[in-house]
């Protein structure tokens, strides 16, 4: 029964884990090293030690007149932050509607949302561009932000989380306590949903931060562009002026906000928020 795992098994497990960790982190390491090296050094090949061109690369990136990096970061932050907030809040609201209420078209509504989930963005992209052009929203950030209100994948995650962690008695208790439906959602349901909100906010933030496809179609002014487009522009710049150190520096700058958001939100991802509320 209580057999200890054999020594060999432990060793193998550790070796596998070390390899996996290495595979995951090695590229970050290269990225961080290479952003401190000059183009010539990088072309020379791999180095385990950082170079001395960090400041130079940084200056090159920030002060490139053709490359509005600062406004790119600002645009990406605006889009990703609002998308994360809208996607999580409204998906939780939709999921709550379907979870806590009984109404005639509940099942069809659920199936409809699930059907949207299987539809790739690319399929509807042309129609979407047509619509926003007619609405006069081409070359603005709104068409990147507003659609995240309808996020079926986030909805499904929230719905599943509610099924496992939100007892309806709490909702009933709040009703009896004199709370209206919207207040119940904001003051009782949302706090219990915190871990799910944090997980999905991280996902939504990262997804929109890295999003290239739609921004590339919608944003035309340099000042409106988001970071992934700028990175792509830099890489496809003309061959004579191509600077690998600059590319690595821009990518490094691009992942910093993601790491900050992850660290800030991950403290909410804890088990047992709903513990103790009702007797199971």
């Amino acid at each position: 029964m209580d057999k200890k795992p054999s020594h060999a098994r432990t060793v193998i497990a550790y070796i596998v884990l070390i390899i996996l960790t290495f595979l995951c982190l090695f590229f970050f390491y290269i990225l961080l090293i290479n952003c401190t090296r000059s183009h010539a050094q990088i072309q020379h090949g791999f180095s385990a030690l950082p170079g001395s061109s960090f400041a130079k690369n940084f200056n090159n990136v920030i002060h490139d007149a053709k490359l509005p990096v600062l406004s790119g970061i600002k645009n990406s932050l605006i889009v990703s932050t609002f998308c994360a907030i809208l996607a999580t809040y409204f998906s939780a609201l939709t999921a709550y509607g379907l979870y806590a209420y009984n109404f005639k078209l509940k099942k069809p509504a659920f199936i409809f949302i699930m059907l949207i989930l299987v539809m790739p963005t690319q399929v509807s992209a042309m129609g979407f561009i047509n619509v926003i052009t007619k609405m006069g929203m081409l070359n603005t950030l709104y068409p990147l932000i507003l659609p995240s209100i309808a996020a079926p994948a986030v909805f499904y995650f929230m719905y599943s989380y509610m099924q496992s962690s939100l007892p309806l008695e709490l909702v009933e208790a709040a009703r009896v306590d004199g709370s209206n439906e919207f207040m119940t959602f904001n003051r009782v349901v949302l706090p219990i949903m915190k871990p799910a909100l944090a997980v999905q906010a991280i996902f939504a933030f990262v997804q929109n931060w890295n999003n290239y496809f739609l921004p590339a179609l919608i944003l035309q002014d340099n000042s409106k562009r988001t970071l992934p487009i700028l990175i792509a522009m830099l890489r496809s710049a003309d061959f004579l002026k191509f600077d690998m150190g600059k590319v690595y520096m821009l990518i490094t700058l691009a992942i910093v906000p993601i790491i900050i958001v992850y660290i800030a939100l991950s403290k909410y991802i804890v088990a047992g928020v709903a513990l103790g509320g009702v007797k199971e």
Binding site: A173, V176, S179, K194, G272, V278
Partner: protein, 361 residues
């Protein structure tokens, strides 16, 4: 403060199942009414209709003199204690209690005063800053009670609030709730399937079965005068014995015959049953081993299948004339299992029921 009136209330669920077919019930102001019955008898549904958590299919529900059918739970001024507590897990005990008060915009001082008052009564003062997960079951239940108390509601609804507690705590909380009712002077509606809770706490008890009220009366009357076989069997522990007996005409009334026993009772109502079988209900404590109860024909020599010694008294599981019976006799008169014992029924306390309609005769 307010009474509650059900007028021809029907509850049918969306799937077509009718849980409450036609409910007429009047709960007086400041009364402690217990709804009791086996699971699935519609008692919880009835309570939830008062709370507004279940819609009413047809009929009328009044709290005080206001028609409540279409009033949302939040506007009914009721407080409810749930079976599984339903505390807000992300809020402290204090915040749990003040949740409703904040919504009602009660001033801060008043809020503090009420929480202090409730915490003092319930012994929750040391725990006000804790979250529910750091409390024991009994403490959580008290928080749930406290949350209802601070509301100062017109009606207090309790849905099996003690069923998750252990036996000792349950007894303790039972008396706390009874005291609370006296102190608050509010209408209490209490749902339980435990007849001990019902008997000890209620001013009046409403026994329900299949959504139909069987009897609505004081505990003593329910015990002494059950109106049908169901109530007779449901109230009282151990359960009342039901014996099929033949009715014969005899001197001074009618004789109830089973086995060798012929008990003569003076009940003119039995005239219609002469020659027929009736159900004879005898509570376990109404079997006596003392000589003074023995009368001509009223002695049965029963075989003891099993005996349970309870200290001051003994439960004897008997077999007599092919029927299983339970008797509850003082320990000094009791005998051991596999022996025979002579017992007589207390003639005054025999309940008689029609075998077909199951109603009391």
């Amino acid at each position: 403060m307010a009474g509650i009136t059900f007028k021809n209330v029907v509850k049918t669920y969306d799937n077509g199942v009718t849980v409450v077919p036609d409910l007429n019930l009047e709960i007086k102001d400041k009364e402690f009414v217990v709804l009791v019955g086996p699971s699935g008898c519609g008692k919880s549904t009835t309570l939830r209709m008062i709370a507004g958590l279940e819609s009413i299919t047809s009929g009328e529900l009044y709290i005080g003199d206001k028609l409540m059918n279409a009033v949302a739970p939040k506007n009914r001024n009721i407080a409810m204690v749930f079976q599984n507590y339903a505390l807000y897990p992300h809020l402290t005990v204090y915040k749990n209690m003040t949740f409703a008060l904040e919504l009602a915009k009660v001033p801060k001082d008043e809020m503090n005063r009420r929480v202090q008052w409730a915490a003092e009564i319930l012994g929750l003062e040391p725990y006000l800053d804790r979250k529910p997960k750091a409390l024991s079951g009994g403490q959580r239940q008290r928080v749930a009670l406290g949350r209802a108390m601070v509301r100062e509601p017109e009606v207090f609804l309790l849905d099996e609030p003690l069923s998750n507690l252990d036996a000792k705590l349950r007894t303790e909380m039972r008396s706390q709730i009874t005291k609370l009712h006296k102190k608050l002077g509010t209408t209490f509606v209490y749902v339980t399937h435990d007849q001990t809770e019902a008997m000890t706490m209620g001013d009046r008890i409403c026994v329900m079965k299949d959504g139909v009220i069987q009897q609505f009366d004081t505990p003593q009357n329910l015990y002494d005068h059950p109106c049908n076989l169901f109530v007779a069997g449901f109230i009282g522990s151990p359960q009342m014995n039901f014996i099929d007996a033949q009715v014969k005409k005899a001197d001074g009334g009618y004789a109830l015959c089973f086995g060798d026993v012929e008990i003569v009772v003076n009940k003119p109502e039995l005239a219609a049953y002469e020659g027929k079988t009736v159900v004879c209900g005898i509570r376990p404590e109404d079997f006596h081993a003392e000589q003074q109860f023995f009368g001509s024909g009223n002695v049965m020599n029963a075989y003891i299948d099993l005996d349970e010694m309870m200290g001051s008294e003994s439960y004897l599981y008997l077999e007599y004339a092919g029927q299983k019976l339970i008797a509850r006799v003082p320990a000094r008169y009791a005998k051991k299992a596999e022996e025979n014992i002579e017992l007589a029924a207390d003639v005054e306390k025999i309940h008689l029921f029609d075998k077909e309609t199951e109603l009391a005769i």
